[in-house]
């Protein structure tokens, strides 16, 4: 992956007064911009808010919306809540695992896709449900998985895309 430029983080920080209560909002903005919380920015935040690094690390590891590892450009969330689970969401997860060669909670080598399982997406009527970034896919079947993923273009590393 290319080396990211962290200078934009300064701009994000300065949108907020250096007060502790803005910690989570800042972290969310950073997550949105960089797709993860880079360590140098966490250290920058420590100096800006005057909050110990241990506290920041605690917060960053607590929330699922924040990630310390780079997330893919496309985050695939497969619902594994009760309704979706009964409609065999596991087979969808297995299919994605097979196609992208990643396990839930990890990212493809080229940084394009991340796979996550979530507990409910609130669309049980069209279960099983899958969301890629902000787009919903209902009544997903294992055979549709490949089709849907094709919409997002192939993996940059063709070999893993058999």
């Amino acid at each position: 992956m290319e080396l990211k430029d962290f200078s934009y983080a300064r701009t994000i920080l300065e949108q907020y007064p250096p007060e502790r209560r803005f910690l989570l909002a800042i972290l969310q903005d950073i997550q949105k911009h960089y797709n993860y919380i880079p360590r140098p920015i966490l250290e920058m935040l420590r100096d800006y808010l005057d909050v110990p690094l241990s506290k920041l690390y605690s917060v960053a590891t607590f929330y699922k919306a924040l990630s310390l590892k780079p997330k893919g450009r496309y985050v695939i969330k497969v619902c594994d809540g009760t309704a979706c689970h009964l409609k065999s969401s596991q087979s969808i997860i297995d299919e994605i695992k097979k196609v992208l060669k990643i396990v839930p909670g990890s990212t493809t080598g080229d940084g394009k896709f991340s796979l996550e399982t979530v507990n409910c997406l609130g669309s049980c009527a069209v279960s099983p449900v899958m969301v890629i970034n902000d787009r919903f896919y209902g009544r997903v079947t294992p055979s549709r998985v490949r089709e849907i993923l094709e919409e997002y273009g192939r993996l940059e590393n063709e070999q893993t895309w058999k």
């Binding site: 360590r39 690094l53 241990s54 590891t61």
Partner: protein, 247 residues
């Protein structure tokens, strides 16, 4: 005011915590996460008691329950024992081989939990007292990391912390001795970091780390006997006091 604990009349101040009142009157309430120096943790839940006020009965954690009215308290009723047993079973599923948990299990006649897959080497019950101690020291080197079943106490990124001074306060307050601290050949190993130990200027025993000593010097000033171990410091203070009275 006066409250009744297990049938015994006890003198209490307004706002005083139930646990403290019970202890003062020789009534035993088991605790793990309670420390007199760092009160108010209330995470281990072992110190639950039943508070009766008229027709109202409720279960509270005695370590953080301030007395504001004249109530009656039961520390060992059938209900409390039953609930406490469950708490011990849960703790025991978390840290099955820990000696302190084992002792509690024996005290309450419980068997080792076999229902869950457990980590036999786990000793931490995640009470957070160590994190509190580190914060009170003003160091902030450790914190709770992750959540749910992956929650643990650690330094940022599980690396040697650049702020840790190796004072060992975390290990000292830990009720289950879950923190790995090892002093060996003048070196202290703690939180993936190594610290040079320093000797007491009087008795010549290793007593703390260089970083801790520097920190004390910075915080309390040069003339605070920071080069002496705890024992020698106490002795020095005693001698000083004796000197005062001799004249």
């Amino acid at each position: 005011m006066e409250i009744i604990i297990d049938g015994k009349k006890c003198e209490a101040q307004y706002g005083e915590y139930l646990l403290d009142i019970a202890r003062k009157n020789g009534i035993h309430i088991p605790t793990l996460c309670h420390s007199d120096a760092l009160p108010g943790q209330a995470t281990c839940r072992l110190c639950i008691v039943e508070v009766v006020e008229g027709s109202r009965r409720r279960v509270v954690t005695s370590c953080v329950f301030p007395v504001t009215r004249e109530v009656e308290v039961f520390t060992n009723s059938e209900k409390i024992r039953r609930m406490r047993k469950n708490i011990i079973r849960l703790l025991s599923a978390r840290a099955p081989k820990n000696e302190f948990i084992q002792k509690l299990r024996e005290e309450y006649g419980l068997l080792q939990e076999t229902r869950f897959a457990v980590d036999e080497k786990e000793n931490c019950i995640l009470c957070g007292l160590c994190v509190r101690a580190c914060e009170e020291m003003g160091i902030f080197a450790i914190s709770t990391v992750n959540r749910g079943i992956e929650k643990k106490v650690s330094t940022p990124f599980d690396e040697a912390s650049d702020v840790c001074i190796g004072c060992g306060a975390c290990a000292f307050v830990c009720p289950t001795r879950a923190i790995n601290i090892m002093d060996e050949n003048g070196v202290r190993h703690l939180w993936n970091k190594e610290f040079q130990l320093v000797k007491c200027q009087k008795c010549g025993e290793y007593f703390t780390t260089r970083e801790h000593q520097e920190y004390m010097k910075q915080k309390f000033g040069e003339d605070n006997n920071y080069t002496l171990c705890e024992k020698c410091r106490k002795k020095a203070a005693g001698e000083k006091m004796a000197e005062c009275y001799r004249i």
